[in-house]
């Protein structure tokens, strides 16, 4: 047994020596869900990071080394995310890009913090992440607070005075609902109804009746598309004629399948998805050519995250973690697909990147703001 172990160690050392002699790869960790219900989004993000890495490698690599991906599957599950983060932290990655679900990203912050690994959070955007951040994590997706601000700004611009807010009782939609409610009242308007729907509910008639009796200028649904589609359909079916807006969780083409005609004219607040970014045309082309499908909603952010990390490494001039973290913090208007990136004191995006979409002809189009 001992001899076998020693042999193993010896052979490992041998391999290490060999790779040290040749062209060494610089490993980048990508932590996203590749299994479970969110797996498709995770795969989109890996593909996008791969495109960024291919471009960097073709241009001669980084600090003279080739980049390679090490994938950690968090399955959108906090426990598995801790395993994935521990694995990435111990496998000597230079930095990590990823973080899709806020709930599973949260417990990994401490792990990357202890290992002092630069972590670029591409998609997760709960405001809960901010106080837990040890300082090495950078959020390049706007937070729920930014979305609430955008919602208030846009709806006020549409002449809306009275608002009804409906959430689904989970962390994401409740957070967005309460942030929006307080921002809306601060702006001098009134919230005339707040309702919470149960997940998986099919019948919204009771809620719709309460909404109609409160008669708000606009209804804001802060949860996901599947139930949102049913709600929108029933709102219109029962004669509600005001403005309907939905949060980024409802930005899905499936909303139109479920809500049908009723989704026409519905507004959605969304992260900049590739199809609405003129600068991303060549990215979409490469993505289509490489993977045969359209890039998903978080692909541009994952691509930006990788490019941002690479530029920070280059600026740091070494793979020393603190130098990279400092370079990230100093990012000043880094040009990403989704717009320029600079950070606040809290390592969140200095500028809200939310855009407003409008349902037209059974698909999302960019709304006039």
């Amino acid at each position: 047994m001992h001899i076998i172990n020693k042999l193993k160690v010896a052979s490992l050392l041998g391999v290490a020596a060999l790779t040290a002699g040749g062209a060494q790869a610089m490993d980048i960790g990508v932590m996203v869900p590749t299994t479970g219900s969110e797996a498709t989004y995770g795969q989109d993000m890996i593909n996008a990071v791969q495109i960024a890495i291919d471009e960097i490698n073709e241009a001669g690599g980084l600090l003279g080394e080739e980049l390679a991906i090490v994938t950690g599957d968090d399955a959108c599950d906090p426990q598995q995310a801790v395993n994935a983060a521990t694995m990435l932290a111990s496998s000597g990655v230079v930095g990590v890009v990823g973080g899709y679900c806020s709930g599973s990203t949260l417990p990994t912050l401490q792990i990357y913090g202890d290992a002092n690994i630069p972590f670029v959070i591409a998609a997760a955007n709960s405001t809960q992440l901010i106080p837990e951040n040890p300082g090495n994590a950078f959020m390049i997706n706007s937070t729920g607070a930014d979305q609430a601000t955008k919602a208030v700004e846009f709806l006020s611009g549409q002449g809306v005075e009275t608002l009804a807010i409906i959430d689904q009782g989970d962390a994401y939609s409740q957070d967005l609902a309460s942030l929006t409610a307080s921002a809306w009242e601060e702006a001098g308007h009134t919230v005339v109804a707040t309702e919470t729907a149960n997940r998986g509910e099919q019948d919204y008639s009771a809620i719709v009746t309460n909404i109609r009796s409160a008669n708000p200028d606009a209804v804001f649904w802060t949860a996901y598309f599947a139930d949102g589609g049913l709600l929108i359909r029933q709102l219109r079916q029962m004669g509600y004629q005001g403005v309907i807006a939905v949060g980024d969780g409802s930005n899905s083409p499936q909303l139109f399948e479920i809500a049908g005609q009723a989704a026409e004219g519905v507004f959605a607040f969304s992260n900049p998805t590739a199809q609405f970014i003129p600068e991303a045309a060549s990215f979409i082309e490469t993505y289509q050519a490489d993977y045969g499908t359209a890039p998903g909603p978080y692909a541009p952010l994952a691509y930006d995250g990788m490019k941002l990390l690479a530029s920070a490494i280059e600026q740091a001039g070494s793979t020393e973690p603190q130098a990279i973290i400092d370079a990230l913090a100093a990012a000043d208007g880094f040009e990403g697909l989704a717009g320029p990136i600079s950070f606040t004191e809290e390592n969140t995006l200095a500028r809200s990147n939310f855009i407003v979409l409008e349902g037209q002809g059974g698909a999302w189009t960019r709304a006039q703001e």
Partner: protein, 304 residues
Amino acid sequence: MTAFDVVMQQVVNGLVLGSFYALVALGYTMIFGVIKLLNFAHGDLYMVGGFVGFLVLSAISGIVGAGWTGVAIAMFFSMIAVGCLGVVIERVAYHPMLRAPRLSILITALAVSLVLQNTVLSLTHGQYTAFRSDFGFGGVNLGNLFITYNQMILVGIAAFLMIGLELFVSRTQYGRAMRAVAIDKDMCQLMGINVSGIIAVTFLIGSALAAAAGTMAGAYYGSIWYFMGFLIGLKAFTAAVIGGIGSIPGAMLGGLILGLLESFGTLLPGVGSAWKDVFSFAILILVLVFKPTGLLGKSEQERM
């Protein structure tokens, strides 16, 4: 809308919702009445009914359109298919268990529920399927009260099916046999009644009613998914217990009461819409504590 309008509108909502619950609760109650089984797979038959209805409608909508004719045909075929599925499930999973302890067959029912759910899950990858129908958004205004044509037709269909069932059970020979089997299986066997056949008919009808409700729900709400049977299964069970499990009029009454309670639950100050499920299950507990036989149930006397 005045407060009165809101209340009246909630009555309409409650009646529509309640007629769905009642249709599903009927199957629960019939099966419990005949073989004393809480068929936890019943909500999933509702779900399968929605999917079969969807498939039939997709196949025929090119010919007859996706309006009421199409949905009626889809509902009819879904009722036949799911009714037969119910019979097969009874033959394969429940029949060998009829003489086993109650607990074994109850667990079998849970297993059947999981099999149905996961089969549809793997076929649909857990995605929501849009149930496209051409129902317009039209309706009738009565003052500030608004009732859509869909709601009226749905309640009409539900009432038609429930009255048909009541006539079947009270007026036909099969119905009489069904009631006899519910009272004493062994004695019926001795009297030359085909008990297995009666049980099969019960499953056929109960499952077909669930399928009708599932297809109607799909067409009305516009989307179906593999888990839609779970909550409605629980609600239908609750409705059946409130009305008195084993009693057919009780299931109808229980369904309507539950639908109305839920609609009004959202109006209570300080309770709000998030609590409406809590509210309906709290009523279940109250009924079980104060009138365990349900509103229309008869207490059974243990014979020694």
